[in-house]
Protein backbone atom coordinates (compact mmCIF):
# COMPACT_ATOMS: atom_id res chain seq x y z
CA UNK A 1 0.00 0.00 0.00
CA UNK A 2 1.74 3.18 -1.10
CA UNK A 3 -0.94 5.72 -0.24
CA UNK A 4 -1.08 6.65 3.44
CA UNK A 5 -3.16 9.39 5.03
CA UNK A 6 -1.10 11.20 7.67
CA UNK A 7 -2.19 10.46 11.23
CA UNK A 8 -4.86 7.87 10.40
CA UNK A 9 -4.67 4.58 12.30
CA UNK A 10 -8.33 3.47 12.60
CA UNK A 11 -10.47 3.44 15.70
CA UNK A 12 -9.47 1.41 18.75
CA UNK A 13 -6.93 -0.63 16.85
CA UNK A 14 -4.29 -1.59 19.42
CA UNK A 15 -1.10 -3.58 18.98
CA UNK A 16 -0.31 -7.25 18.43
CA UNK A 17 -0.68 -9.99 20.99
CA UNK A 18 0.47 -13.61 20.73
CA UNK A 19 -3.04 -14.76 21.56
CA UNK A 20 -4.13 -13.20 18.28
CA UNK A 21 -4.37 -15.27 15.10
CA UNK A 22 -2.50 -13.91 12.06
CA UNK A 23 -3.85 -10.68 10.59
CA UNK A 24 -5.97 -9.86 13.64
CA UNK A 25 -5.99 -6.67 15.75
CA UNK A 26 -7.26 -6.30 19.29
CA UNK A 27 -10.39 -4.22 19.95
CA UNK A 28 -12.05 -3.22 23.22
CA UNK A 29 -15.54 -2.55 21.92
CA UNK A 30 -17.83 -5.08 20.26
CA UNK A 31 -18.56 -4.13 16.65
CA UNK A 32 -22.06 -5.05 15.53
CA UNK A 33 -22.39 -6.87 12.21
CA UNK A 34 -25.85 -7.07 10.68
CA UNK A 35 -27.01 -8.41 7.37
CA UNK A 36 -30.54 -7.17 7.91
CA UNK A 37 -33.05 -5.79 10.37
CA UNK A 38 -32.64 -6.93 13.96
CA UNK A 39 -35.43 -9.41 14.69
CA UNK A 40 -37.38 -8.89 17.90
CA UNK A 41 -37.99 -12.35 19.36
CA UNK A 42 -39.99 -12.85 22.52
CA UNK A 43 -38.66 -15.76 24.58
CA UNK A 44 -42.28 -16.94 24.82
CA UNK A 45 -42.20 -17.53 21.05
CA UNK A 46 -38.58 -18.68 20.86
CA UNK A 47 -37.85 -22.27 19.99
CA UNK A 48 -34.67 -24.16 19.14
CA UNK A 49 -34.95 -27.12 16.78
CA UNK A 50 -32.55 -29.78 15.48
CA UNK A 51 -33.71 -31.50 12.29
CA UNK A 52 -32.08 -34.72 11.12
CA UNK A 53 -32.35 -37.16 8.21
CA UNK A 54 -35.07 -39.04 10.11
CA UNK A 55 -37.47 -36.16 9.46
CA UNK A 56 -38.16 -35.93 13.18
CA UNK A 57 -37.49 -32.58 14.81
CA UNK A 58 -36.13 -32.25 18.33
CA UNK A 59 -37.23 -28.93 19.80
CA UNK A 60 -36.84 -26.98 23.01
CA UNK A 61 -38.95 -24.06 24.19
CA UNK A 62 -37.22 -21.29 26.15
CA UNK A 63 -38.25 -22.82 29.48
CA UNK A 64 -37.15 -26.30 28.43
CA UNK A 65 -33.88 -24.86 27.22
CA UNK A 66 -33.26 -23.07 30.54
CA UNK A 67 -33.78 -26.35 32.38
CA UNK A 68 -30.76 -27.86 30.58
CA UNK A 69 -27.28 -27.79 32.17
CA UNK A 70 -25.85 -24.30 31.74
CA UNK A 71 -22.14 -23.58 31.31
CA UNK A 72 -19.97 -20.49 31.79
CA UNK A 73 -17.68 -19.95 28.83
CA UNK A 74 -14.67 -17.64 28.74
CA UNK A 75 -13.16 -17.38 25.30
CA UNK A 76 -11.47 -15.20 22.69
CA UNK A 77 -13.45 -14.27 19.61
CA UNK A 78 -12.07 -13.46 16.17
CA UNK A 79 -13.96 -11.64 13.44
CA UNK A 80 -12.97 -12.13 9.81
CA UNK A 81 -12.85 -8.34 9.49
CA UNK A 82 -9.56 -8.43 11.43
CA UNK A 83 -10.73 -7.62 14.94
CA UNK A 84 -10.35 -9.93 17.93
CA UNK A 85 -11.65 -9.58 21.45
CA UNK A 86 -9.98 -11.54 24.24
CA UNK A 87 -11.52 -13.15 27.32
CA UNK A 88 -15.19 -12.62 26.52
CA UNK A 89 -17.61 -14.31 28.91
CA UNK A 90 -20.79 -16.07 27.92
CA UNK A 91 -23.38 -18.36 29.49
CA UNK A 92 -25.19 -20.96 27.51
CA UNK A 93 -25.97 -24.58 26.78
CA UNK A 94 -23.30 -26.76 25.19
CA UNK A 95 -24.23 -28.16 21.78
CA UNK A 96 -23.04 -31.52 23.21
CA UNK A 97 -25.95 -31.40 25.64
CA UNK A 98 -28.44 -30.91 22.81
CA UNK A 99 -27.02 -33.77 20.75
CA UNK A 100 -27.42 -36.21 23.66
CA UNK A 101 -31.04 -36.32 22.54
CA UNK A 102 -30.39 -36.51 18.79
CA UNK A 103 -29.36 -39.37 16.48
CA UNK A 104 -27.77 -38.48 13.16
CA UNK A 105 -25.36 -39.97 10.66
CA UNK A 106 -24.92 -36.68 8.83
CA UNK A 107 -21.63 -34.88 9.43
CA UNK A 108 -22.59 -31.30 8.61
CA UNK A 109 -25.03 -28.78 10.05
CA UNK A 110 -26.63 -25.62 8.73
CA UNK A 111 -27.41 -23.12 11.46
CA UNK A 112 -30.62 -21.17 10.74
CA UNK A 113 -31.52 -17.85 12.31
CA UNK A 114 -34.63 -15.77 12.81
CA UNK A 115 -34.41 -13.24 9.99
CA UNK A 116 -33.22 -15.82 7.46
CA UNK A 117 -29.44 -15.92 8.02
CA UNK A 118 -27.70 -19.27 7.62
CA UNK A 119 -24.17 -20.56 8.19
CA UNK A 120 -22.71 -24.04 7.69
CA UNK A 121 -20.57 -25.79 10.31
CA UNK A 122 -19.21 -29.38 10.34
CA UNK A 123 -20.66 -31.34 13.27
CA UNK A 124 -17.15 -32.03 14.57
CA UNK A 125 -16.70 -28.27 15.03
CA UNK A 126 -19.87 -28.10 17.14
CA UNK A 127 -19.22 -31.07 19.48
CA UNK A 128 -16.65 -31.90 22.21
CA UNK A 129 -16.96 -28.59 24.05
CA UNK A 130 -16.42 -26.40 21.01
CA UNK A 131 -19.79 -24.67 20.65
CA UNK A 132 -22.69 -23.32 22.69
CA UNK A 133 -26.10 -21.73 22.33
CA UNK A 134 -25.45 -18.62 24.43
CA UNK A 135 -28.07 -16.39 26.03
CA UNK A 136 -25.88 -14.21 28.28
CA UNK A 137 -22.91 -12.01 27.51
CA UNK A 138 -20.85 -10.39 30.29
CA UNK A 139 -23.42 -11.41 32.89
CA UNK A 140 -26.34 -9.76 31.11
CA UNK A 141 -29.05 -11.21 28.88
CA UNK A 142 -27.84 -11.10 25.29
CA UNK A 143 -29.03 -7.87 23.65
CA UNK A 144 -30.97 -8.21 20.39
CA UNK A 145 -28.26 -6.39 18.44
CA UNK A 146 -25.74 -8.99 19.61
CA UNK A 147 -28.02 -11.87 18.69
CA UNK A 148 -30.38 -12.16 21.65
CA UNK A 149 -32.27 -13.90 22.97
CA UNK A 150 -29.81 -16.64 21.94
CA UNK A 151 -26.97 -17.07 19.49
CA UNK A 152 -24.66 -19.83 18.45
CA UNK A 153 -21.06 -19.35 19.54
CA UNK A 154 -18.31 -21.34 17.83
CA UNK A 155 -15.34 -19.34 19.11
CA UNK A 156 -12.60 -21.35 17.41
CA UNK A 157 -13.98 -20.31 14.01
CA UNK A 158 -14.37 -16.78 12.62
CA UNK A 159 -17.27 -15.04 14.28
CA UNK A 160 -19.64 -15.00 11.28
CA UNK A 161 -20.13 -18.73 12.10
CA UNK A 162 -21.54 -17.72 15.49
CA UNK A 163 -25.03 -17.13 14.12
CA UNK A 164 -27.06 -14.46 15.89
CA UNK A 165 -30.78 -15.05 16.67
CA UNK A 166 -30.23 -18.77 16.11
CA UNK A 167 -33.34 -20.94 15.91
CA UNK A 168 -32.03 -24.31 14.90
CA UNK A 169 -29.66 -26.69 13.16
CA UNK A 170 -30.51 -28.73 10.08
CA UNK A 171 -28.25 -31.73 9.58
CA UNK A 172 -26.83 -32.20 6.06
CA UNK A 173 -24.96 -35.01 4.26
CA UNK A 174 -22.70 -32.44 2.55
CA UNK A 175 -21.05 -29.20 3.62
CA UNK A 176 -23.41 -26.89 1.72
CA UNK A 177 -22.53 -23.19 1.97
CA UNK A 178 -24.52 -20.78 4.14
CA UNK A 179 -25.32 -17.10 3.54
CA UNK A 180 -21.85 -15.55 3.56
CA UNK A 181 -20.14 -18.76 2.43
CA UNK A 182 -22.12 -18.55 -0.84
CA UNK A 183 -20.95 -15.00 -1.34
CA UNK A 184 -17.18 -15.07 -0.89
CA UNK A 185 -16.39 -16.34 2.58
CA UNK A 186 -14.55 -19.57 3.33
CA UNK A 187 -16.54 -22.76 3.82
CA UNK A 188 -14.79 -23.52 7.14
CA UNK A 189 -13.32 -20.28 8.59
CA UNK A 190 -10.42 -21.26 10.89
CA UNK A 191 -8.77 -18.00 12.05
CA UNK A 192 -5.41 -19.70 12.80
CA UNK A 193 -5.24 -20.82 9.15
CA UNK A 194 -6.64 -17.47 7.94
CA UNK A 195 -9.50 -19.21 6.15
CA UNK A 196 -11.20 -15.91 5.31
CA UNK A 197 -12.36 -16.18 1.70
CA UNK A 198 -12.83 -18.83 -1.00
Amino acid sequence: MSFITRGFSGRGRAGRDERLPPGQTLVEDFPVLSAGPTPDIDTADWQFTIRTESGVDTSWTWDEFMALPIEDVSTDIHCVTHWSKLGTSWRGVSVDTLFEQVETEYEFAMAHSYGGYTTNVPLEDLLDGKAWIAFEFDGEPLEPEHGGPARLIVPHLYFWKSAKWVRGLVMMPDDDPGFWEQNGYHLHGDPWKEERYW
Binding site: F3, T5, G7, G10, R11
Partner: protein, 279 residues
Protein backbone atom coordinates in the same frame (compact mmCIF):
# COMPACT_ATOMS: atom_id res chain seq x y z
CA UNK B 1 -30.61 11.72 -19.19
CA UNK B 2 -27.31 13.24 -20.04
CA UNK B 3 -24.00 11.56 -20.04
CA UNK B 4 -22.14 12.20 -16.81
CA UNK B 5 -18.42 11.74 -16.22
CA UNK B 6 -17.30 8.26 -15.23
CA UNK B 7 -16.18 7.71 -11.70
CA UNK B 8 -12.69 6.61 -10.75
CA UNK B 9 -10.29 6.67 -7.83
CA UNK B 10 -8.34 9.90 -7.55
CA UNK B 11 -5.65 11.28 -5.27
CA UNK B 12 -6.90 14.36 -3.45
CA UNK B 13 -4.98 17.03 -1.57
CA UNK B 14 -6.70 18.89 1.23
CA UNK B 15 -6.84 22.60 0.31
CA UNK B 16 -8.53 23.74 3.51
CA UNK B 17 -10.42 22.54 6.57
CA UNK B 18 -12.47 24.97 8.61
CA UNK B 19 -15.34 24.66 11.06
CA UNK B 20 -18.75 24.65 9.39
CA UNK B 21 -20.72 24.26 12.63
CA UNK B 22 -19.53 23.25 16.12
CA UNK B 23 -19.86 19.60 15.06
CA UNK B 24 -18.77 19.71 11.46
CA UNK B 25 -16.08 20.92 9.09
CA UNK B 26 -16.07 22.22 5.55
CA UNK B 27 -13.33 20.44 3.66
CA UNK B 28 -12.07 21.60 0.29
CA UNK B 29 -10.17 19.08 -1.79
CA UNK B 30 -8.11 19.52 -4.91
CA UNK B 31 -8.76 16.30 -6.77
CA UNK B 32 -6.22 15.29 -9.36
CA UNK B 33 -8.06 14.42 -12.58
CA UNK B 34 -11.54 15.09 -11.22
CA UNK B 35 -13.93 15.21 -14.20
CA UNK B 36 -16.47 17.53 -12.58
CA UNK B 37 -19.77 16.48 -11.01
CA UNK B 38 -23.48 17.11 -11.07
CA UNK B 39 -25.26 18.69 -8.08
CA UNK B 40 -26.29 16.03 -5.55
CA UNK B 41 -23.60 13.47 -6.36
CA UNK B 42 -21.38 11.96 -3.69
CA UNK B 43 -17.92 10.49 -3.41
CA UNK B 44 -16.23 7.83 -1.32
CA UNK B 45 -13.26 8.86 0.83
CA UNK B 46 -10.67 6.18 1.57
CA UNK B 47 -8.17 6.58 4.39
CA UNK B 48 -5.17 4.25 4.62
CA UNK B 49 -3.15 3.63 7.80
CA UNK B 50 0.60 2.88 7.70
CA UNK B 51 -0.12 -0.85 8.26
CA UNK B 52 -2.37 -0.98 5.21
CA UNK B 53 -5.66 -0.83 7.11
CA UNK B 54 -8.24 1.14 5.15
CA UNK B 55 -11.59 2.72 5.95
CA UNK B 56 -13.96 4.05 3.31
CA UNK B 57 -17.01 6.29 3.80
CA UNK B 58 -19.40 8.15 1.50
CA UNK B 59 -19.90 11.93 1.63
CA UNK B 60 -22.19 14.17 -0.39
CA UNK B 61 -20.54 16.88 -2.43
CA UNK B 62 -21.59 20.47 -1.71
CA UNK B 63 -20.19 21.80 -4.98
CA UNK B 64 -20.95 21.05 -8.63
CA UNK B 65 -19.70 21.84 -12.09
CA UNK B 66 -16.45 21.21 -13.92
CA UNK B 67 -14.05 22.40 -11.18
CA UNK B 68 -11.55 19.97 -9.68
CA UNK B 69 -11.89 21.84 -6.35
CA UNK B 70 -14.48 19.71 -4.53
CA UNK B 71 -16.25 20.90 -1.38
CA UNK B 72 -17.48 18.57 1.38
CA UNK B 73 -19.18 19.35 4.69
CA UNK B 74 -18.63 16.52 7.14
CA UNK B 75 -20.57 16.04 10.37
CA UNK B 76 -18.70 14.52 13.32
CA UNK B 77 -20.45 11.23 14.24
CA UNK B 78 -19.60 10.58 17.92
CA UNK B 79 -17.61 7.37 18.23
CA UNK B 80 -17.23 7.18 14.48
CA UNK B 81 -14.04 5.93 12.90
CA UNK B 82 -13.69 8.28 9.94
CA UNK B 83 -15.73 11.46 10.48
CA UNK B 84 -14.00 12.54 13.76
CA UNK B 85 -10.67 12.10 11.98
CA UNK B 86 -11.80 14.21 9.03
CA UNK B 87 -13.31 16.94 11.23
CA UNK B 88 -10.64 17.12 13.93
CA UNK B 89 -7.37 15.80 12.51
CA UNK B 90 -7.30 16.54 8.80
CA UNK B 91 -5.18 19.54 7.76
CA UNK B 92 -4.38 21.42 4.56
CA UNK B 93 -1.78 19.51 2.58
CA UNK B 94 -2.92 16.06 3.76
CA UNK B 95 -3.79 13.47 1.15
CA UNK B 96 -6.75 11.13 0.89
CA UNK B 97 -8.13 9.03 -1.93
CA UNK B 98 -11.58 9.67 -3.37
CA UNK B 99 -13.78 7.59 -5.67
CA UNK B 100 -16.22 9.61 -7.68
CA UNK B 101 -18.25 11.33 -8.82
CA UNK B 102 -20.89 8.79 -7.73
CA UNK B 103 -24.64 8.35 -8.14
CA UNK B 104 -27.01 9.39 -10.92
CA UNK B 105 -30.23 9.00 -8.95
CA UNK B 106 -30.01 11.84 -6.44
CA UNK B 107 -28.97 14.62 -8.79
CA UNK B 108 -30.41 17.85 -10.16
CA UNK B 109 -29.20 19.45 -13.37
CA UNK B 110 -30.29 22.81 -14.73
CA UNK B 111 -32.43 22.40 -17.87
CA UNK B 112 -30.18 22.71 -20.86
CA UNK B 113 -27.05 22.16 -18.82
CA UNK B 114 -24.58 19.93 -20.57
CA UNK B 115 -22.00 18.08 -18.58
CA UNK B 116 -20.58 16.33 -21.60
CA UNK B 117 -21.66 14.65 -24.84
CA UNK B 118 -25.06 14.94 -26.41
CA UNK B 119 -28.28 14.21 -24.58
CA UNK B 120 -30.12 11.11 -25.69
CA UNK B 121 -33.81 11.12 -26.43
CA UNK B 122 -35.56 8.34 -24.58
CA UNK B 123 -39.01 7.33 -25.73
CA UNK B 124 -41.79 8.78 -23.64
CA UNK B 125 -42.16 6.57 -20.57
CA UNK B 126 -45.25 4.40 -20.55
CA UNK B 127 -47.01 5.82 -17.50
CA UNK B 128 -49.92 3.41 -17.96
CA UNK B 129 -47.72 0.55 -16.79
CA UNK B 130 -48.02 0.75 -13.04
CA UNK B 131 -45.38 -1.89 -12.55
CA UNK B 132 -42.85 0.14 -14.46
CA UNK B 133 -41.07 1.93 -11.66
CA UNK B 134 -38.52 3.48 -13.94
CA UNK B 135 -38.51 7.18 -13.23
CA UNK B 136 -35.60 8.56 -15.16
CA UNK B 137 -35.97 12.29 -15.77
CA UNK B 138 -37.70 13.29 -18.97
CA UNK B 139 -38.26 16.56 -20.76
CA UNK B 140 -41.34 17.40 -18.68
CA UNK B 141 -39.21 17.57 -15.53
CA UNK B 142 -37.88 20.94 -16.61
CA UNK B 143 -41.15 22.68 -15.87
CA UNK B 144 -41.88 20.93 -12.58
CA UNK B 145 -41.20 22.73 -9.31
CA UNK B 146 -38.37 21.36 -7.19
CA UNK B 147 -38.79 20.81 -3.46
CA UNK B 148 -35.74 20.08 -1.33
CA UNK B 149 -36.19 18.68 2.20
CA UNK B 150 -33.10 18.30 4.38
CA UNK B 151 -32.34 17.32 7.95
CA UNK B 152 -29.05 18.29 9.61
CA UNK B 153 -26.05 17.52 7.42
CA UNK B 154 -28.52 16.17 4.85
CA UNK B 155 -28.48 19.72 3.51
CA UNK B 156 -25.16 19.13 1.74
CA UNK B 157 -26.34 17.69 -1.60
CA UNK B 158 -29.44 19.93 -1.48
CA UNK B 159 -27.25 22.98 -1.05
CA UNK B 160 -25.33 21.88 -4.13
CA UNK B 161 -28.63 21.74 -6.06
CA UNK B 162 -29.83 25.13 -4.78
CA UNK B 163 -26.47 26.67 -5.61
CA UNK B 164 -26.40 25.16 -9.10
CA UNK B 165 -29.93 26.46 -9.67
CA UNK B 166 -28.87 29.99 -8.65
CA UNK B 167 -25.68 29.86 -10.70
CA UNK B 168 -27.64 28.84 -13.79
CA UNK B 169 -30.20 31.60 -13.26
CA UNK B 170 -32.68 28.79 -13.81
CA UNK B 171 -36.35 29.77 -13.55
CA UNK B 172 -37.62 26.46 -12.16
CA UNK B 173 -39.52 27.09 -8.92
CA UNK B 174 -37.26 25.98 -6.03
CA UNK B 175 -38.11 25.55 -2.37
CA UNK B 176 -36.00 24.25 0.49
CA UNK B 177 -37.34 22.99 3.80
CA UNK B 178 -34.41 22.57 6.19
CA UNK B 179 -34.71 21.06 9.66
CA UNK B 180 -31.80 21.81 11.95
CA UNK B 181 -31.20 21.69 15.72
CA UNK B 182 -30.14 25.27 16.38
CA UNK B 183 -29.05 28.33 14.39
CA UNK B 184 -25.43 27.43 15.20
CA UNK B 185 -25.93 23.95 13.70
CA UNK B 186 -27.04 25.39 10.36
CA UNK B 187 -24.79 24.35 7.49
CA UNK B 188 -24.03 26.96 4.80
CA UNK B 189 -25.79 29.55 6.93
CA UNK B 190 -24.43 32.63 5.16
CA UNK B 191 -24.67 31.05 1.72
CA UNK B 192 -28.29 30.02 2.23
CA UNK B 193 -29.21 33.51 3.40
CA UNK B 194 -27.58 34.85 0.25
CA UNK B 195 -29.45 32.38 -2.00
CA UNK B 196 -32.75 33.34 -0.34
CA UNK B 197 -32.32 37.00 -1.27
CA UNK B 198 -33.91 36.13 -4.59
CA UNK B 199 -37.38 34.74 -3.91
CA UNK B 200 -38.89 31.73 -5.63
CA UNK B 201 -40.51 33.80 -8.35
CA UNK B 202 -37.22 35.02 -9.82
CA UNK B 203 -34.64 33.31 -11.98
CA UNK B 204 -32.29 31.35 -9.74
CA UNK B 205 -34.38 32.25 -6.71
CA UNK B 206 -35.45 29.99 -3.90
CA UNK B 207 -37.76 30.03 -0.91
CA UNK B 208 -36.09 28.67 2.22
CA UNK B 209 -38.02 27.54 5.30
CA UNK B 210 -35.87 26.79 8.32
CA UNK B 211 -37.20 24.56 11.07
CA UNK B 212 -35.33 24.68 14.40
CA UNK B 213 -35.80 21.59 16.54
CA UNK B 214 -33.88 22.51 19.75
CA UNK B 215 -33.31 26.26 19.86
CA UNK B 216 -34.61 29.01 17.58
CA UNK B 217 -33.11 32.43 16.95
CA UNK B 218 -34.53 35.24 19.09
CA UNK B 219 -37.63 36.70 17.56
CA UNK B 220 -38.42 33.48 15.68
CA UNK B 221 -42.17 32.81 16.00
CA UNK B 222 -42.09 29.06 15.88
CA UNK B 223 -41.13 27.36 19.16
CA UNK B 224 -38.29 24.87 18.73
CA UNK B 225 -39.67 21.40 18.06
CA UNK B 226 -39.43 18.65 15.52
CA UNK B 227 -40.79 19.06 12.04
CA UNK B 228 -44.47 18.07 11.92
CA UNK B 229 -46.67 16.58 9.24
CA UNK B 230 -48.76 19.77 9.18
CA UNK B 231 -45.68 21.84 8.47
CA UNK B 232 -44.70 19.55 5.64
CA UNK B 233 -48.24 19.90 4.26
CA UNK B 234 -48.01 23.71 4.51
CA UNK B 235 -44.42 24.33 3.39
CA UNK B 236 -43.86 21.74 0.66
CA UNK B 237 -45.01 22.43 -2.91
CA UNK B 238 -48.42 20.73 -3.03
CA UNK B 239 -48.77 17.34 -4.71
CA UNK B 240 -51.23 18.77 -7.28
CA UNK B 241 -48.36 20.78 -8.74
CA UNK B 242 -46.30 17.58 -9.15
CA UNK B 243 -43.01 18.80 -7.68
CA UNK B 244 -39.88 16.71 -7.89
CA UNK B 245 -38.91 16.18 -4.25
CA UNK B 246 -35.40 15.47 -2.98
CA UNK B 247 -35.15 14.35 0.66
CA UNK B 248 -31.83 13.89 2.45
CA UNK B 249 -31.22 13.19 6.12
CA UNK B 250 -30.80 10.43 8.65
CA UNK B 251 -32.69 7.23 7.93
CA UNK B 252 -35.31 8.11 10.56
CA UNK B 253 -35.83 11.66 9.26
CA UNK B 254 -35.94 10.62 5.61
CA UNK B 255 -38.40 7.80 6.17
CA UNK B 256 -40.73 9.95 8.29
CA UNK B 257 -40.77 12.76 5.73
CA UNK B 258 -41.27 10.31 2.87
CA UNK B 259 -44.23 8.68 4.62
CA UNK B 260 -45.87 12.10 5.12
CA UNK B 261 -45.28 13.05 1.49
CA UNK B 262 -46.96 9.85 0.33
CA UNK B 263 -49.87 10.55 2.70
CA UNK B 264 -50.17 14.01 1.18
CA UNK B 265 -50.58 12.52 -2.26
CA UNK B 266 -47.09 12.87 -3.70
CA UNK B 267 -46.24 10.24 -6.30
CA UNK B 268 -43.63 7.82 -4.95
CA UNK B 269 -41.74 8.12 -8.24
CA UNK B 270 -41.39 11.87 -7.74
CA UNK B 271 -39.67 11.45 -4.38
CA UNK B 272 -35.95 10.79 -4.34
CA UNK B 273 -34.33 10.00 -1.04
CA UNK B 274 -30.79 9.81 0.21
CA UNK B 275 -30.50 8.33 3.70
CA UNK B 276 -27.32 8.34 5.67
CA UNK B 277 -26.16 6.11 8.49
CA UNK B 278 -23.38 6.64 11.00
CA UNK B 279 -19.58 6.84 11.21
Amino acid sequence: MRRLPRSAWHAATVASVRPETSQSARIELDVDGWPGNAAGQHLDVRLTAPDGYTATRSYSIASSGPSSRVVLAVDRVPGGEVSPFLVDELRAGDQVEVNGPLGRFFIWEAPGADVSDAPNAPDAPDVSDAANASDAPDARDASRPVQLVGGGSGIVPLYAMAHAHAEAGDDTEFRLLYSVRTPEDTFFRAELAQLAVNGPGRAGGIRIDLIYTRAAPTGHERPPMRLTRDEVARLVVPAERAPRVFVCGSTGFAELVASWLLDLGHDARSIRIERFGGT
